[in-house]
Structures are given as C-alpha cells and as structure tokens.
Amino acid sequence: MRWEVFRQDKKKDYHTYVGTVHAPNAELAKQYAEVQHGRRKPTNSLWIVPKDAVETVYADDPGVEFGGTTQKDYRWATAYSTDETFAEEIEASQREQEEAERDIAEADR
C-alpha cells in the first residue's frame, strides 16, 4: 500500500509534500516515513496519508481552468497603478502577488 508523506520543518510552518512510502498499515507507514523523510532535514512533524485518500485534479482535465490559464489581470494588485507603498500591509500583499506572478510566468515557459 502506498502512502503520501508531508513534512513540516519547524513548528508553525506549513506541511509540504516530500514523497511516498510503501507499507501494509498505518503503524509501519509512520515508521518508514520517519526513517525515509524525517532523518536528514529538520522535522517537527509528518503527515502520512493513504494514497487512495488523495484526490487529484489535473490542469488538462476537461472543464478545469487553473490560475494563469485564463486572462484575469483584474484579480491582481499588480494590475492597478495606484501606489501601494503608503501602507506596509498592502506592500507586503503586493510583493507576495509579484512573486506568485513570477512563479506563473516560470511555469509557462
């Protein structure tokens, strides 16, 4: 049986996907995940999920339109030419959105 493993580096961080383990039951899956994914990198916790419990949506599934595939400029702070520097929280949001736009551009290439 296949299990998907998500690792959290430090307390308060988000869990991110790190890979798979094969194990016949949850008990062993936890042990294998610990050994395979929790040893080298700093780890605060692991989430171990049966592969069958993970649903997937693909970008080319019919009817699916993920961000970046359609023209939705109006949804982005970066599309408005007003000034964002007058409030730090708006500047922060703008920075995060610029970063996300760069990721999208990169994925397109």
């Binding site: 307390k11 308060k12 949001s93 703008q94």
Partner: protein
C-alpha cells in the same frame, strides 16, 4: 492546558487543533473569528449589487472577483473557528441568519451609490487589512493560516478601491461632489471601526494575554489614520469639520474627539438593532433560505426536496 500555561506560552501561531486548550481560550477565539467571518460575508452582501451596477466591464469583473474572494474568506474563517470545537460552521451561519451573529459596524449601513463603493473598498477594507496584517501573528494557528491567504488577496481589493476613488476624484465636478458627500457620510463610521478610544473592553485584556490579539485598537487606529488621512487628502477629499480629527503636535498622535461621534448608534449597531442591521441581516436570511435547495442537493443528491429559487432579491 490551564490559562496560566496558555498565557506563559502565548506567541505567534503557538496553539493549534492538537493542543488541549482551556474553555476560556476556545470561547474567546471563537467569538473573535466568528465576528471576523460574519463580517466577510456581510461585506460581500453590501458589494454584491455593484457587480450588476458597475459602470464598466473592468469594474464588473473586479467586483465579481472581490465578492467571490470575500465569501471565500468567510469560509476559511468559519473553518478556523470550527476547529476550536465550540460551534459548528452550520451553527455560526444559522446565528448570522437569525440576527444573533455580530459583525463589523460599517456593514450595517446601506450602500446604494457607486460613489460610496470606495468608502468600503478603500477605507474600510484598508482599516480591516491593517488589523488583519497583525493577526498573522495571532496565537491560534488556523486563524493565522487563514490570514496568510486573506492578506495575499486583500492587496488587490484595496488597490482596486483606490483606483475607483482616483477615477471618481479626477472625474467631472458633480461626481467629485457626490464622492465628497459619500465620504462625509461614511467617515464617522470608519472612525468607529476601531471602537471608542476610551474602550475598556474586557475582551481585549484576555485576548491580548493569550496572544489572540497582537495590537490594541488604539495602536491600530493610529496606524490607520497615519496612512489613510493623507490618502484622502491626496485625492482631494476634505475631512468634515465634525467629527474633529487632528494630530496633536505635543504627543504627535492622532486625536479623535469622541463626543463628536454617535456612540448610541454605535452600540445599537453592535446589538444588531439598527434599522440597517435588520435590512442587511434580512437579506442574508432570505438568501440562506432561497438556496436551501442547493445545500439539500449537495448533502443528499437525488432526493428532490424544495423547489429551486434564485438567490437574488
């Protein structure tokens, strides 16, 4: 965990669903997050008509995206509140429809003209975002996680609101005058967003001690006025003579004359008892009922049920 331990450990994102939190903490966090979630939903209801009434296709698209975002914020927050184990999402939605759920003072007032839209989309959202940014450091981790996503999206809302304000204030004279009138009508409510300056709120003491709130209303009000009064002036909006708002040269702080604001109205609003409260809550209640068939169809597909109705009124 007892309250003393919580206070000792309190810090950004310190507690989550895996921790055994005392009832006082769970109740205080639920009250705060439920209020926030309700406000997202009620704000979206005020702005929804402007998807239809927007003057251009660009504004229409942006408003529909914004309303969709706000409803999504509500959903994220109900989830974060639900994990405290005090109330379910259904309970909180029911309380809102029944008029028991509390929400932001500004969303108890009708918004009818296009010139009013930046009063919410720029000033009220700006005030809200100031507060939300500080809540990225709240001690309830699911709440902080919701703030990560909400603040990411909110930058667009405020820049869009500012873009509308700029357009109006560089438009024809009559439009500028209507915008100024809208500003004078909304400004006192916006000032009341952060509550009375002499607020001895008992909620704050506890919420601050356990790290749920990370900044006082007074500090938030100062930060808001610092950023947004110059903005209003930049676009040619004039602060009305009353309520008196000025910068005290000696303390270098903003002063808002409390006697110039209508606190009876504020407390009536806080009890959901203002005329506008009944109107706004009524809209929410009717929509909740009108789309019951959708919820039924999702919960038990193929069972028939009540006759479909449209959510618009």
């Amino acid at each position: 965990m007892d309250v003393e331990t919580v206070e000792a450990r309190a810090g950004p994102r310190e507690f989550g669903p895996g921790d055994d939190m005392p009832e006082e903490y769970r109740k205080a966090a639920t009250r705060m997050i439920q209020f926030h979630a309700n406000s997202e939903i009620m704000g979206a209801y005020l702005e929804r008509p402007f998807i239809r009434e927007a003057p251009s296709i660009d504004r229409k698209l942006a408003f529909s995206a914004k309303v969709q975002d706000e409803i999504g914020h509500g959903q994220l927050l109900y989830r974060a509140a639900e994990e405290l184990g005090v109330k379910t999402r259904e309970q909180m939605l029911d309380e809102l429809a029944r008029g028991e759920g509390k929400f932001l003072n500004c969303f108890h007032y009708p918004m009818e003209r296009w010139e009013e839209t930046p009063m919410i989309a720029f000033f009220v959202d700006g005030a809200a975002m100031r507060r939300q940014a500080t809540l990225k450091r709240t001690s309830w981790e699911p709440y902080a996680h919701a703030m990560d996503k909400i603040c990411f999206e909110e930058g667009f809302h405020i820049k869009h609101g500012e873009s509308i304000l700029r357009e109006l204030m560089t438009g024809p004279r009559a439009v500028q005058e209507r915008t100024q009138a809208a500003f004078e009508e909304w400004w006192p409510r916006i000032l009341q967003f952060f509550g009375p300056t002499d607020d001895q709120s008992t909620h704050h003491d506890f919420s601050a001690a356990v790290g749920l709130k990370t900044m006082t209303n007074d500090a938030l009000r100062q930060a808001f006025l610092n950023a947004y009064v110059p903005k209003a002036r930049q676009y040619g909006l004039e602060l009305p003579d009353e309520p008196r708002v000025y910068r005290d040269a000696e303390t270098d702080r903003w002063v808002v004359e409390q006697d110039d604001l209508d606190w009876d109205e504020f407390w009536t609003v806080a009890k959901n008892d203002y005329d506008g409260s009944h109107v706004q809550i009524g809209k929410r209640e009717r929509t909740q009922e009108a789309v019951e068939w959708v919820r039924d169809a999702i919960e038990s597909p193929g069972q028939g049920g009540v006759t479909p109705a449209a959510a618009d009124d």
